[in-house]
């Protein structure tokens, strides 16, 4: 390991340590808000694996979130299993679903892939609304976490934090392994990737499965935290849009981009809705548009390249012909 890598590891460790202390000095509302940010950071980072690194913009990633949530609900409520088992099964089921759906859908490219994944998520919602085991639109109540309230907040915060660290660590390790190179090669030119000996179908499916796995884990924690799950909120396309906006805002195809995106977007959205009860989505939309226009490579590019001048913003506009 080089000096630079070691330094980065130390910095990351320090940040994780600081974030770990956050709940101890915060009120319940702030802990809950922090847990939400972490959840979206997990999902945006998971989306980044398929959308950012592999170049397949999935518009249906919420399906993994919903599957993770429902698997957890069913295993805990109906089978009486422990959360730990349900948590892992949720990730596994979402990954398996990604493989099954990925084999046909990943043959499509660009817009066609986006539309197909959107369709998959909507179809799954309809299915869950009509199955007996999922109790249709009525939804499922989960057993409550048997801890004092304050400790419940701790539990979910630290579960989300651990899941985020796992997601980023796995992504980091992949990037330095052959598999990570194959993802990026597929994104950059799929035909060329195939011709240099990359089994592109396998790479894409693996990326999609990983993306599904981590999103499923987030869904699992979410379901346990809410203690109640319904098809509407579990499979809403809004969640997918949030993942994508966060990943793009922070920086697609960058390890920490989606994390930064989740942090910024949640903060901006929360602040705006405090000041403008009704019109905050309008302001929010404007902020997102400005960010995409001026920093299409994401906030992370702004920070890592130390480019804070107006020249950088203008250069981006020129390069992207706006």
């Amino acid at each position: 390991m080089g000096n630079k890598a070691l330094n980065n590891f130390l910095i990351c460790g320090l940040i994780i340590l600081i974030v770990s202390f956050f709940p101890l000095v915060s009120n319940n509302f702030s802990i809950r808000f922090g847990t939400d940010i972490l959840m979206f950071a997990v999902m945006a980072s998971a989306w980044n694996i398929i959308g950012g690194y592999t170049g397949y913009a999935s518009f249906g990633n919420v399906v993994f979130f919903g599957i993770g949530a429902y698997i957890t609900a069913i295993l805990m409520e109906k089978a009486g299993l422990h959360f730990g088992i349900a948590y892992l099964a949720a990730g596994g089921a979402a990954a398996l679903f990604a493989v099954l759906i990925g084999l046909p859908v990943l043959r499509l490219r660009g817009h066609y892939f986006a539309i197909a994944t959107l369709g998959v998520a909507e179809a799954m919602k309809a299915l869950v609304q009509n199955l007996d085991i999922t109790e249709g639109n009525a939804g499922i109540y989960l057993p409550m976490l048997d801890l004092p309230v304050r400790h419940q907040y701790y539990f979910f915060f630290y579960m989300m934090l651990a899941t985020l660290v796992l997601t980023l660590l796995v992504t980091y390790l992949l990037l330095n392994a052959k598999l990570g190179y194959s993802f990026i090669a597929v994104r950059e030119d799929e035909d060329a990737a195939n011709s240099v000996g990359i089994n592109t179908t396998l790479s894409k499916t693996f990326a999609f499965a990983l993306s599904g796995f981590f999103t499923g884990l987030a869904g699992s924690i979410y379901a346990y935290q809410q203690a109640f799950i319904q098809p509407g909120p579990a499979f809403t396309v809004q969640t997918t849009v949030q993942m994508i906006v966060m990943a793009v805002f922070g920086g697609m195809g960058k390890l920490f981009g989606p994390l930064l995106g989740a942090l910024c977007i949640e903060m901006i959205s929360e602040t705006l809705s405090n000041y403008f009860l009704v019109a905050h989505t309008l302001f929010f939309g404007t902020v997102v548009i400005l960010a995409i226009v001026f920093t299409p490579k994401g906030m992370i590019d702004l920070i890592t390249q130390h480019k804070f001048g107006i020249a950088y913003l203008l250069q981006n506009i020129r390069e992207h012909r706006i």
Partner: protein, 247 residues
Amino acid sequence: MAILEGKNIIKRFAGLIAVNNVDFHINPNEILGLIGPNGAGKTTLVNVIAGVYAPSQGQIQFKGQTISGEKPYRIGRLGISRTFQVVKPFPGMTVKENAAVGAMFGAGGKKTSAKEAIKKAEEVLAFVGLADQINKHADQLNVPSRKRLEMAKALAMEPDLVLFDEVMAGLNFSEIDQAVELIRKIRENGVTILIIEHVMRAIKNVCDRIFVLHHGEKIADGPVAEVLNDEDVIKAYLGRRYKELTH
């Protein structure tokens, strides 16, 4: 025995027959030139060999093994690598990473770790003359360098046979001569080469044998001097003025 052999290869696109009943072979360590007018079916033939298309009819054998109908990545791993006429670098990667990807997944990929692949990439890039540009992004390279990168990617795969599809188009005379030198060196390393080219200066200088396609059919196959004086080849491709100019 030929390293690559195709028998009765036909490739149809709906009503169009792009390659029509072509037999070909390449001997080990040979440099075979594939020429013919635009639309003759040269690139289609390369795509059939590389697995982009399965032949509509016929069989291709590589080192005694049938490869027709295999996927491109399987053929790449078996030891055939190719370049693209319209170059296909991975633009967002550095030059070094581009070549490293070839080393990771090509014929030598199984036994090469990601770290070793980066090292191998540096060697190959030095070999093709891109040593001073390895940290640039691929989309920052000029045309001759992009062609070299395309060759480096193919060579990093440790192939037994490379298919060079117009790697000299767009190069000036001195760049062409450098490329010819490079191709000779590649052959000295034991690699067999199929080269598609319109640049006759290169074809004449580097090939052992020439194979001519016209309207998807083979019209000549033989030693360089013989084929370039063949009446059919002159009529179909070179043109009468070529003979006057070169004699």
